[in-house]
Each structure stands twice: as structure tokens, then as C-alpha cells.
């Protein structure tokens, strides 16, 4: 059977994008970079002990569990003790920037999918592709369009981590009790009022579970992202791999796990605060 390839078209398409919309990509790039630098500057300004204190206080005010709060604080202290705090800050900046963008894009898209059957049908396969396409495949065009550095790293993280919040926003809205929605309609709610007063607030626990998952996925991309210049703890892992330095790699891995646990517990606790009694 004769072979059939799309590779040539894809190459041509990326070249064409680069030529015709170079300015647009520069603009996007500048915007993302500005957001990223601002977040990073904020994190760098904060001394490590203040970050630990804020984590403990936030965990306590969300969960009322002193033990858990102290454990989360000591995980960060461990990162500091390993001498990885400055790198962790760089990683966190990329993760937080990606999550912020993922939520800004993902929640509206999830709402759109819940509101429109057409959008739902059209976007489901896109989401599947975003989640299953090996990230190295889009790292190359991302690098071509945005160069090496933190911006393509944010974009690659974004592609990988946005689907959960989209899916869970969509699902959460679809699971809102039809009886409650019918009551709102019977009292003359418009489509927009129904969304704002009923569907979104009742979908909030599910949306926040999506925020949690998106955050975790973003963190799981840090090593891959550092291959195209995200630096941070991920780069430490890469260096350790290159030098076959098992101990150093393990320490970096430990730091990533510590960050993941802290972010997971904090976002989960935040999500739980939003659950209303009487809503399944």
C-alpha cells in the first residue's frame, strides 16, 4: 500500500503560521512572559519562612487540622533544607502562570460545552487529543513559534493541564439537579440568570475539583517543560539524569513531590469549603 503522510502539510502549516502571524505570536509571548515574571517576582520577594507560614495558616484556616497544616509547612521546609527553594520558586511561577491561564480559558470553555450540544460534540475529541498526544510532539512547534524559554514551557503545560478543568466544569454543570433548574426557569430566569444563579454555583465543587486536577497535571509537566527552558526543579532532574547522579535526582524528585502534596491538599481543602450541605 502506498504511504500517505501529513507531515509535509504540518511543516508547511507551521512555517505559514510563523510567517503570517509572527507578530501575533510575539504578542502572546510577551503577555505570557509579563504574567510569569510578575508571579515570579512576587514569589521571589517572599522570604521562604513567610511562604511556609502562609502555607500553614492557609491550610489551617481551610481545614482546621493543625497536624496536616504543620506537615504541609514542614514539606516546604524540607525543600528549603535541600537547597532547592530558589529553583522551586521558578517552577512554581511556571505552574501558577499555567494554572491561571488554564482556568481563564478552561472554565468558559467548559461552560460553553455544557450550554451547547454542538460545542460539546466538537470539543470532546480536541480534549482527548490534548490529553493523549505525547507532549514532545507539540514541544517542537511550540519552540518554533515561541522560541526556547519559559513561554513555550507555559504553553506546553497549558495544553496538557487545561482538559481536566474543562471536563469537570462541563460535568459539574450537567449534574446540577434538573428540578432546581426547572424551579428557576418557572420563576422567569433567563439563560444567563440560570447559569449565574444556579448552574455555576452548584457546579462549583466540581469546577474546583477540576482546578485541583489541573494544578496536579501542571506540576507533573515540570520536568518535560524544563527541556525547553522552564528551568527550575525540573532542570535539576534533567542535569542529574545527564550526569547519572542518582542522589541529586532523588532530591529534586522529592522536592517536586513535596510541592505537589502541598498544592494538592491546599486546592482540595479550598474545594471542600465550597460544598453546600444538601447537594450531592
Amino acid at each position: 500500500m502506498p504511504e500517505f503522510h501529513v507531515a509535509g502539510w504540518i511543516d508547511a502549516f507551521v512555517d505559514w503560521l510563523l510567517l503570517s502571524y509572527g507578530a501575533l505570536f510575539d504578542g502572546i509571548s510577551a503577555g505570557i512572559l509579563a504574567l510569569l515574571l510578575r508571579i515570579q517576582a512576587g514569589l521571589e520577594w517572599l522570604p521562604w519562612w513567610a511562604a511556609v507560614a502562609i502555607t500553614i495558616l492557609a491550610a489551617y484556616s481551610l481545614t482546621r487540622r493543625p497536624g496536616l497544616s504543620l506537615i504541609l509547612g514542614s514539606l516546604l521546609v524540607m525543600v528549603v533544607a535541600l537547597g532547592l527553594w530558589p529553583l522551586a520558586v521558578e517552577t512554581l511561577a511556571v505552574v501558577i502562570a499555567s494554572v491561571v491561564l488554564a482556568l481563564l480559558l478552561g472554565i468558559p470553555v467548559g461552560v460553553l460545552m455544557a450550554e451547547s450540544r454542538w460545542a460539546n460534540a466538537a470539543l470532546q475529541p480536541v480534549l482527548d487529543a490534548m490529553q493523549t498526544m505525547p507532549s514532545f510532539v507539540y514541544l517542537i512547534p511550540a519552540m518554533m513559534l515561541f522560541g526556547l524559554g519559559k513561554v513555550p514551557a507555559v504553553l506546553a503545560t497549558l495544553i496538557y493541564s487545561t482538559p481536566p478543568v474543562i471536563r469537570l466544569t462541563n460535568l459539574g454543570i450537567r449534574q446540577v439537579s434538573p428540578e432546581v433548574q426547572e424551579a428557576a426557569l418557572a420563576y422567569g430566569a433567563t439563560r444567563w440568570q440560570l447559569l449565574k444563579e444556579v448552574r455555576l454555583p452548584l457546579a462549583m465543587p466540581s469546577i474546583l475539583a477540576g482546578v485541583n486536577q489541573t494544578t496536579m497535571m501542571a506540576l507533573s509537566m515540570v520536568v518535560i517543560a524544563s527541556m525547553i527552558g522552564a528551568r527550575g526543579v525540573g532542570e535539576e532532574v534533567l542535569l542529574a539524569i545527564n550526569r547519572i547522579d542518582v542522589g541529586r535526582g532523588f532530591e529534586a524528585g522529592l522536592a517536586i513531590v513535596a510541592l505537589a502534596i502541598v498544592m494538592d491538599r491546599l486546592t482540595q481543602a479550598f474545594a471542600r469549603r465550597w460544598e453546600t450541605p444538601g447537594v450531592p
Binding site: E179, E182, A184, A186, G188, L202, G278
Partner: protein, 282 residues
């Protein structure tokens, strides 16, 4: 003669597969569709409800009561027929007109209360006013007043889940009263409640109705409730009214075997002896 508060003419609602319903644009095509597998939840219904009247629709599960009551606000889109409520031809309204109609002319009370679980009792009661754009201070004042009227003073800041079923339905009633709509649609509002609470709520409704004189369309599957509350009542079966009249008329002169079975099956005060005697005879 005064114009009726509700006038329903030749109302039909068919359910079934899209492919069958597509062909249903005139009543002449309906028998064909029904043969092909569509279901007529409401079948050529015509009736009127006078202003200030409690009109009860009674029927067994699946007789079409909920479909009928939802058709009046077009929560379910009728297949055919005309619905006029409060002088408005509901079937002719466009989107914004329908929204305005639902906000001002009618208020509905649901079997499962339909309260917003994330909003306080007060916010729930003020919900209709909020949708209408009433300023916060004004809707709060109105909601407080209505909550006091249904005996829920002191519960304003609770979430619905903190209330018992009977109290939640009081919130549902308060939400309906807060809109000042003249017409109330009640779909089995007390069916989920314990018998004692249920009687309390029926008394409460009669007390409120004595003050307010609303027009009420009340759906129930309980003959005893229908007889207690109804100025007039209809017995519904398979989408049609089998008999319409005052409760006394229906109890005394059941129009056919079906209604008669209904009347005898229920342990109505005053009819008890007769049913017992019949049991002995048969």
C-alpha cells in the same frame, strides 16, 4: 361573566421519538402518531379556572398531571392547543414575553420544593424578585414579610437543608407568595410530607387562601386532599378529564366506574360506613 383566570383549549402534549413527533402538526395527524408509538400525556384538554378558585386536578401516577401544569408555563412546550393565563395567551408569547409572564403572572410550587440549596431561606424567598431586578433592600423586606406570614420567622439565614420537609415547602410557598402573582400552580406540593404535617399544610393553605384569594391550580393523587381543598376538581386519567365538578358532586355522582372505584377505594370521612357495608354485600 368574569373572564377565567386560566383557560385551556384543546391542549395536547405528545411524547415519543423525534422521528414520529416531527409529523405532528395538526390534531388530525395525532391518531397516526399514537399508533406509531407516541404517548399522549395530555389529550385534547379544555377547561377553565375562575379567579379566586382552587381547582384540583386529581389522578394516578402517569395520568398527565405534571405535564398539564408545566404546559401552562411552557416549561413543557405543548404540542397543540391554546393556554391563556391571567388574560395572557401564553402559547403566543415569544422568549422575552414568556420570561416576563413567568416573573409576574404565575408562581409555581413543586413536589420536591425546588429550592436552591446554596442560597439561604431568605434568598430563596426573594429569588423571584431578584430575577425581576427588584433592588436588594426591597426584596429583603418583602421576603421577611412573607416568611413571617408562613410562620418561618427566625429561619431566614438558614440553608434549606437545615429545615424539615414541611418547613422547606413553606419556603416554597413563601417564594411563590413573594412574587405577588395572582395565580399559583402547585404540583403535588404536600405529597412528600408525613400525614400529620400534610394536614397542617393543607390547613395552612386554606388559611392563607382565605386572606389572599389567589387562583390556585392544585395537582394531587390523593382524593382526600382534593376534596378538602378543591372548590372544584377534575379526575384525570390517561391525559383526559374523566369528570369535572365540585367535590360533593363527584363523591355523590361518580360519572363512571373509574371515578367510582376511586371514591370507594379511599377512606373518606362520611363515606366509611357505606364502603364497609358494600364490602359485606360483596
Amino acid at each position: 361573566m368574569t373572564t377565567p383566570a386560566i383557560r385551556v383549549s384543546h391542549l395536547w402534549k405528545l411524547f415519543g421519538p423525534e422521528r414520529i413527533l416531527r409529523t405532528c402538526d395538526r390534531p388530525e395527524t395525532f391518531p397516526e402518531a399514537l399508533k406509531a408509538g407516541a404517548v399522549a400525556a395530555v389529550r385534547d384538554l379544555s377547561f377553565t379556572v375562575a379567579p379566586g378558585e382552587i381547582f384540583v386536578v386529581m389522578g394516578l401516577s402517569g395520568s398527565g398531571k405534571s405535564t398539564l401544569i408545566r404546559s401552562l408555563l411552557r416549561l413543557i412546550e405543548p404540542t397543540w392547543g391554546r393556554v391563556e393565563v391571567g388574560g395572557v395567551d401564553v402559547t403566543a408569547l415569544d422568549g422575552p414575553g414568556l420570561t416576563h409572564f413567568r416573573r409576574t403572572k404565575v408562581a409555581m410550587i413543586f413536589q420536591h420544593y425546588g429550592l436552591l440549596p446554596h442560597k439561604t431561606v431568605l434568598e430563596n424567598v426573594a429569588f423571584g424578585l431578584k430575577l425581576r431586578g427588584v433592588p436588594p433592600a426591597e426584596r429583603r423586606a418583602k421576603a421577611l414579610e412573607v416568611l413571617a406570614r408562613v410562620g418561618l420567622k427566625g429561619w431566614e439565614e438558614k440553608l434549606p437543608s437545615a429545615l424539615s420537609g414541611g418547613m422547606q415547602q413553606r419556603v416554597g410557598i413563601a417564594r411563590a407568595l413573594a412574587t405577588d402573582a395572582d395565580i399559583l400552580l402547585m404540583d403535588e406540593p404536600f405529597s412528600g410530607l408525613d400525614p400529620l404535617i400534610r394536614t397542617d399544610m393543607q390547613n395552612e393553605l386554606l388559611r392563607l387562601q382565605a386572606e389572599m384569594r389567589k387562583t390556585i391550580l392544585f395537582v394531587t393523587h390523593d382524593l382526600r386532599e382534593a376534596v378538602r381543598l378543591g372548590d372544584r376538581m377534575a379526575v384525570m386519567r390517561s391525559g383526559s378529564f374523566v369528570q369535572v365538578g365540585t367535590p360533593d358532586e363527584i363523591l355523590a355522582h361518580p360519572a363512571n366506574e373509574y371515578v367510582a372505584r376511586f371514591v370507594h377505594a379511599q377512606d373518606l370521612p362520611g363515606r366509611k360506613k357505606q364502603t364497609q357495608r358494600e364490602k359485606v354485600v360483596s
